[in-house]
């Protein structure tokens, strides 16, 4: 997720926070939210209300990747998009763990698998219309999915459909190959039925069907890369004015029919969204009630952290959810002596996990100490610890030394550690590892690289990694959705590694894991599948190619005057669909 800021602003923000704390919170007493309390919105709805009206004001410190359902890949965008787009399936708008449940949206019910999970059929609800009054048909859903596979026009979107659908050889989307027969991939037997045909069985296809890419697009109104300037709404709100990268607003869509939609309440009259807003100013405005939502949902800035945690009235209006993201370090077996498993194990044992957690900001803004690859939110996650760091979390020196002796390096060895230059937390992590590993003679040299090219040119580029002895790579990954496939497929499957660079997987090359992934993907029984993800997690950890750091958490401020506030585990932030303005 995108969050790039002026480093200097952080320093300034810290000063602002100090000054404001000194000012004393005359704006405090932020208790307008009824039964508020720290973490109160994690598992229940605060300020429940059915009252309609009002406008919700939203700010974004950055910009959207795209407002087009076929191209957007930001978590907050998927959360927000449900206001103007309806995909086949969606995550249930409910507090806490209940939000991980998939429920039908455009479809009448969840997908029906056949052919062992290779074919998935969805029946559309009747009576759903676009904002211009045109009825939605199954052909529009098929067209929307097909257009999203044109990665020359939509390079930002997820690439799951082109990977899994049985598209004909040489298909480049409906613009460039309009006459190509795509019935091997998607068919629409009638106006209400859409059928997906996959190359291989995929038991969790409903997760793909919840992607915004299945939100219908009428071919006659499609303007390709310009469609994001005016997306035709199927949800309760439609675009009124849209100035790309500046601001837009949503107003009620009078063609949306509540009778067709059991998931949305559509309480506010509209939404006003502003982009490129100073991140520290967003926090101030949230606290002072001038703003309802920081859309990115990644939490307050470092400057506001101590202010919020230190002021009981502010803290009572904040939530600290765990999100489906792991901050970790890749241990590259392509770099000697880390080609020896015992040398890798020495790193796992010698790491000071408490210091790693501190590097990420401690238990509130950083997260909980991790011992597995999958965070606890992912179904199937099993809590285990193959390399215990001792009661104080500072590492097991004896085990580390034993491992070093076993790998033929009893006095330690030297290697390099890469991190993103623009990320102070990653630099702190590299320094923390440098200090903790030095205790057993492992000498790390810090190498900073620009984040824009981090994976493409440097830490994710296998020849560069080898040539520059990047034994360790500070890394992080968030799930596309809360499921083993959504979390693991891009970071433990060796087949995603490209010699030209660009993959987040820099260290996991285990053929057995690839096979295990294929088996789990094909499994249609959810319970069995979840257990298989847990096994994969354990198998990768046995090879010691990933050093888990922290399961990420964020500190969110509840906007003043909002109703129906709760954290959705599925998105790791407040659910934007249920909110109302009091």
């Amino acid at each position: 997720m995108n969050s790039k800021r002026l480093v200097t602003a952080v320093a300034a923000g810290a000063a602002v926070a100090m000054a404001l704390s000194a000012c004393g919170g005359s704006t405090g007493g932020n208790s307008g939210s009824g039964e508020s309390g720290f973490n109160a919105a994690l598992d229940k709805t605060l300020n429940p209300s059915e009252k309609k009206g009002g406008v919700i004001k939203i700010a974004n410190a950055g910009t959207w990747d795209s407002l087009d359902p076929g191209e957007t890949y930001y978590g907050y965008s998927w959360n927000f998009l449900r206001l103007y787009g309806r995909s086949l399936v969606m995550f249930k708008p409910a507090p806490g763990g209940a939000s991980n449940e998939l429920v039908p949206d455009l479809a009448e019910k969840l997908g029906e698998p056949s052919d062992g999970g290779k074919t998935w059929t969805y029946k559309l609800r009747t009576g759903i219309k676009y904002e211009d009054g045109t009825p939605v048909t199954a052909k529009d859903v098929a067209y929307a999915v097909l257009r999203s596979t044109d990665k020359e026009t939509f390079p930002n979107g997820p690439a799951y459909f082109e990977g899994f659908l049985n598209l004909p050889e040489g298909y480049k989307g409906p613009y460039k190959t309009p006459d190509m027969d795509t019935s091997s991939a998607i068919t629409t037997p009638d106006d209400q039925t859409v059928v997906f045909h996959l190359k291989e069985a995929f038991g969790g296809f409903d997760y793909m069907a919840q992607l915004p890419q299945t939100a219908p697009v009428p071919k006659a109104k499609d303007t390709g890369a310009k469609y994001k300037e005016h997306v035709l709404s199927t949800g309760p709100y439609k675009f009124d004015k849209n100035e790309i990268d500046k601001k837009f607003n949503l107003v009620r869509n009078d063609q949306w029919d509540q009778a067709t939609d059991p998931n949305r309440k559509a309480l506010p009259d509209g939404y006003e969204v502003e982009m490129n807003v100073n991140a520290d100013d967003i926090d101030n405005r949230l606290i002072n009630g001038d703003l309802h939502i920081d859309i990115a949902g990644t939490g307050v800035q470092p400057a506001s952290l101590s202010r919020v945690l230190g002021d009981p009235s502010l803290k009572a209006n904040a939530d600290n959810p765990t999100i489906a993201r792991l901050w970790y370090t890749s241990i590259n077996p392509t770099v000697a002596p880390l080609d020896n498993i015992d040398c890798r194990k020495a790193i796992e044992y010698a790491t000071d996990k408490t210091s790693y957690q501190t590097a990420y900001g401690g238990p509130f803004s950083g997260g909980d100490i991790a011992t597995t690859i999958m965070p606890p939110l992912i179904p199937g996650q099993e809590k285990f610890d193959l390399y215990p760091a001792g009661a104080d979390g500072k590492g097991d020196m004896n085990k580390a030394k034993e491992a070093l002796t076993a790998c033929g390096q009893p006095n330690g060895f030297e290697t390099n550690i890469a991190y993103r230059a623009e990320r102070p937390k990653e630099k702190a992590t590299a320094e923390s590892l440098q200090q903790s590993l030095a205790r057993v003679g492992i000498k790390l040299t810090l190498r900073a690289f620009p984040q824009g090219d981090y994976f493409s040119q440097f830490a994710g580029n296998p020849p560069f990694v080898k040539a520059n002895n990047l034994g360790l790579v500070v890394n992080g990954w968030g799930a596309d959705w809360n499921d083993g496939f959504g979390f693991l497929s891009q970071i433990v499957d060796s087949r995603v590694i490209r010699e030209t660079g660009g993959s987040s997987n820099t260290s996991v090359r285990i053929p057995e894991v690839d096979t295990m992934l294929d088996a789990a993907i094909a499994e249609t029984d959810a319970t069995k599948r979840e257990a298989m993800w847990g096994d994969i997690d354990k198998r990768v950890m046995e090879e010691a190619v990933i050093l888990p750091g922290v399961y990420a958490k964020s500190l969110l401020i509840r906007g003043k005057g909002l109703t129906n506030v709760f954290v959705s585990e599925a998105y790791g932030m407040y659910d934007y669909l249920a909110l109302g303005a009091s």
Binding site: K4, L6, T8, A9, A12, G13, A15, V16, A19, L20, C23, S26, T63, D65, E71, Y73, R147, D150, K151, E152, T153, P155, N156, G157, P158, A159, E162, Y175, D222, T223, G224, K226, I244, D245, K246, K247, E274, N276, V277, N278, D281, N284, R285, N288, D290, G452, D453, F455, S456, Q457, N461, F464, Q490, V496, R498, T500, G501, G502, S503, S504
Partner: protein
């Protein structure tokens, strides 16, 4: 206007065009050559414009769409051609034509750059011009008074405040003033407020008041110190003594003779400052979330959006050149010695 002055202006404008070409070439070269020296390939460049976990095919297609497989000179040629004859852009179902002068399409948003720049220009223009009026008024008057009452309490106090103004960065004063005046007291508009002057002049001024004051605070500090130094020097010149000996009233001596002489270096600095600000008051726009050229530049750089970077760089260079040309012409008005030379 004399023919020599017209020739001078034409010569300067021609030099400005040459300078803009050089600036564009350097920007282009920095964008492509430096990554190449670090081992970059068209694919690694293209991977900046794709979503996470993009496939190799997506990266290749993007490199192809953005023309990264062409030699750098050919790519520059395409960009240059757009300025003179326009450019075509394939957005999927059809092709869009960007008429000349076309500064290209954003790599990321697919929007043509020039309309974006022109859309944001009024914000920056409003910010810079309002602040300039404030800082010139405040800086010159405070500087003059300080010089005339050298060593007084007023002099020491105003120079102390000026020192603080120069030292405090805008992202600090901006956020502090927003937090205090907008959110605590509610006197000024919150961050991100802007109403075009054509819609409502009162709202326009209200929204920009705090950014103006914040920006002017820093600049007026410099100008106060510059004016004070200039005035102290000028007021000791022989012609001032002559003016006083002629029996001119002190106000006339100070304003017509003293201040006028001290203005020349201030005008030089003003030309550079206003030119730079018109190209984008980066920090002020970021602190106050104003959608001007400065914020556009930051956004472009953060996203490696070359056409946007090129556009905003050229516009900034254009304003610097223009402001300096105007200042050079104003020298003659301000300083009679330049006219006779």
């Amino acid at each position: 206007m004399p023919a020599t002055v017209i020739t001078y202006i034409i010569r300067r404008l021609f030099a400005a065009v040459v300078l803009l070409f050089i600036v564009s070439m350097i920007t282009f070269a920095i964008f492509f050559v430096i990554p190449k020296l670090g081992g970059g390939t068209p694919e690694t460049l293209a991977s900046r414009y794709v979503g996470r976990a993009a496939t190799a095919e997506t990266v290749r297609l993007t490199a192809e769409r953005l023309g990264f497989y062409d030699p750098i000179l050919v790519q520059y040629g395409h960009w240059l051609k757009g300025i003179f004859v326009g450019a075509d852009y394939d957005y999927g179902p059809a092709v869009d034509h960007c008429p000349a002068p076309c500064l290209g399409y954003s790599f990321r948003t697919n929007q043509p750059v020039l309309p974006d720049l022109l859309d944001r220009l009024p914000v920056t223009l409003s910010l810079a011009s309002g602040a300039a009026v404030l800082w010139l008024l405040a800086g010159i008057s405070v500087g003059t008074l300080s010089a005339l009452r050298k060593g007084s309490v007023l002099d020491r106090m105003s120079m102390g405040v000026a020192l603080a103004g120069v030292s405090l960065p805008i992202f600090f004063t901006g956020l502090i003033s927003l937090a205090f005046f907008s959110y605590q007291l509610g006197w000024t508009a919150p961050g991100g407020s802007y109403t075009p002057i054509t819609e409502n002049i009162g709202d326009w001024a209200y929204a920009l008041l705090l950014p103006w004051i914040t920006l002017a605070f820093q600049f007026s500090a410099q100008y106060a110190r510059l004016t004070r130094a200039g005035m102290l020097e000028t007021m000791n010149e022989d012609f001032i003594r002559t003016a006083r000996a002629k029996g001119l009233v002190e106000r006339r001596v100070v304003v017509k003779h003293g201040l006028r002489g001290a203005l020349t270096p201030i005008l030089t600095i003003f030309g550079l400052d206003i030119g730079l600000l018109l190209g984008g008051a980066v920090l002020t726009e970021s602190a106050f979330s104003l959608k001007g050229l400065g914020q556009y530049a930051i956004d472009a750089i953060k996203n490696y959006d070359l056409p946007k970077v090129m556009g905003v760089t050229i516009m900034a260079a254009f304003f610097i050149v223009l402001a300096n040309l105007v200042v050079d012409l104003l020298y003659a008005v301000v300083d009679p010695r330049v006219r006779t030379a």
